[in-house]
Amino acid sequence: MNRRNFLHKSACISAGILTLPMYSGAYAFDTRKDLIIGHNSHRYKVDMNWGNLHSNKVPVKDCHEIIQDSKGRIVLLTNHVKNNIIIYDKSGKLLDTWGTTYPGAHGLTLSVENGEEFLFITDYDRHQVIKTTIDGREVMTLDCPADTGKYKNKEEFKPTETTVLENGDFYVADGYGNQFILHYNHKGELLNIFGGRGTGESQFLNAHGICFDQRDKENPVLLITAREQNTLKRFSLEGDFLSSMEVPGALICRPVIHGNEIYFAVLKSKEATHDDSGFLLIMNEKNEVISCPGATKPIYKDSQLTELYQTIKLFQHPHDVCVDEDDNIYVAQWNSGQTYPIKLTRI
């Protein structure tokens, strides 16, 4: 090493030390440039290797939903009947699998009752909602609510999602069926039914996802996606329509509340001419879209959100997201070549 080179490198090292905290991720030793997706305060780096498993030993088909349990474990639901449930630690290491009887495994919701954890699984192929313990023992199954007179046969009931209140009451969204929202008490007794197929304000086309929103403790509500209509609707717990928020171009799956924000997987861009056109969408506490990882920057003109669409081919068909305590996102995908979840690290 000649003196000039030595001095140059020494200077670089000194600069590196002096700017140590802010140097992170910007150190240009080579041409590597980490992809950063998202907008405003919600931007992420992408880890495609997280959670990848041996496809012969622990296979997946569609990865429909993903949640985090009270122990911090990441729980994935797939419709592969060799292992419907796959449990990871946060580093992506496999911890456990169970479940072989859910060919239409679609919705996955955690319920904590007196300190004990349960899972609500919806299976559109079995036309059932199944409640299990966290390790897979079935404690309740619900069939088509035939007594309501809203269903000609049990096959019309194709539930996609559930959400659970603190008192044990729960709601079921029949998103692939007749588009009703069903309200049950903790024993599984039907209390109310509302919604239904249609384009009216209190009706749905593809009532795909539902969640209990108690960000405003005084006024808890239900958030329900009308995916085909690119709309998020708010309902009272009694089933009265309150308001709706349009997200033009975005086929939003289920709302996932984390802190004061709502996160969505967007299955695809409505007007895209190519397949695999999905992305993610994040709303703030005012239900305004603030970031769309993998898509156009959200822009409001005259209070109307302009159409959103995918800009880079990163996600294929994102179907659900889970957000951990470090604000990192785990993305489960439908019809994406049997791929395992993608992890996004918040920056």
Binding site: S24, L35, T273, D275, K313, T345
Partner: protein, 275 residues
């Protein structure tokens, strides 16, 4: 020197492995250069040109450049750069592609423009239309309007059986060609045209077949696109009969394998010298 080397490794390790939350990350992240741009978004007024049409191309990502061609070739950075709305006044094919210094260029996105066909005096679909996707009735096919990629936009007729129509031009015309617009959206089980049978009559009574030789490439993966089958006719015609068949058996790779596919058509354009 030894101390400097140790310091160098410390800087390198810290700069490459620490995220905002301060936790150590050993995984490597996806690189920008490994990711492909999505297709540019193309918006048009109408694809059948009466006077002119406007084309707007965009991809909402900073520093993206869009290039296009009008000769069917794939655009490169040496092609014409898209700067502003394009006014199209002649039939043709516009092909767009997005480029960015950090990302893999997009796939191409093509939009075709057709000249307006002649008005058809008498058009009658003699096979039955499917009740689920009737469009605006049989006139949907000759209303001089193309459909969008949304098969429910009212400009598409959808069938799962062959469609047969008889067209009476009343007077003898010289028909140069026929354009049949169709949709492909395999996720929705909508597949391309399988076969076309055309016969024509000079006297309105006796019909002769025309060899069409239209063979479309079989799809091997999920596809969504607007398709067009251009058939050269070059005959004096007064009446013609057209039969178009849907895909009888969806290919093996698709979840609907062995079932019949949907056939969606938006417009049949009858081209003469004068239109």
């Amino acid at each position: 020197m030894k101390a400097l080397i140790i310091l160098w490794f410390a800087v390198f390790f810290y700069s490459c492995t620490t995220n905002k939350k301060g936790s150590i990350v050993t995984k490597s992240f996806l690189q920008t250069k490994e990711v492909q741009l999505a297709n540019p978004k193309i918006e048009v007024d109408h694809m059948i040109i009466d006077t002119s049409s406007r084309v707007v191309a965009s991809l909402g990502l900073d520093n993206v450049e869009i290039y296009y061609t009008i000769d069917g070739n794939e655009p490169t950075r040496k092609s014409k750069k898209y700067e502003e709305t394009i006014i199209v006044s002649k039939p043709g094919k516009y092909t767009f592609k997005a480029f960015h210094s950090g990302f893999i260029p997009s796939e191409t996105e093509t939009v075709s423009f057709y000249k307006k066909g002649i008005n058809v005096d008498h058009f009658s679909v003699i096979s039955s239309l499917d009740k689920k996707y009737p469009g605006q009735g049989e006139n949907t096919l000759i209303n001089h309007q193309k459909g969008s990629l949304n098969f429910k936009d009212g400009q598409w007729i959808g069938v799962t059986e062959p469609i047969v129509a008889v067209i009476d031009f009343k007077d003898m015309i010289f028909l140069e060609s026929l354009d049949i617009g169709y949709l492909v959206n395999t996720s929705a089980w909508i597949f391309p045209i399988e076969e076309v049978f055309i016969s024509f009559s000079e006297d309105g009574v006796n019909f002769k077949s025309i060899e069409t030789n239209q063979i479309l490439k079989e799809l091997t993966k999920d596809t969504t696109k607007l398709g067009n089958m251009h058939i050269s006719i070059q005959k004096e015609i007064r009446k013609m009969r057209i039969e178009i068949t849907n895909t009888k058996s969806i290919p093996e790779w698709h979840q609907g394998k062995s079932n019949p596919g949907w056939l969606f058509m938006d417009e049949w354009i009858f081209n003469t010298k004068n239109n």
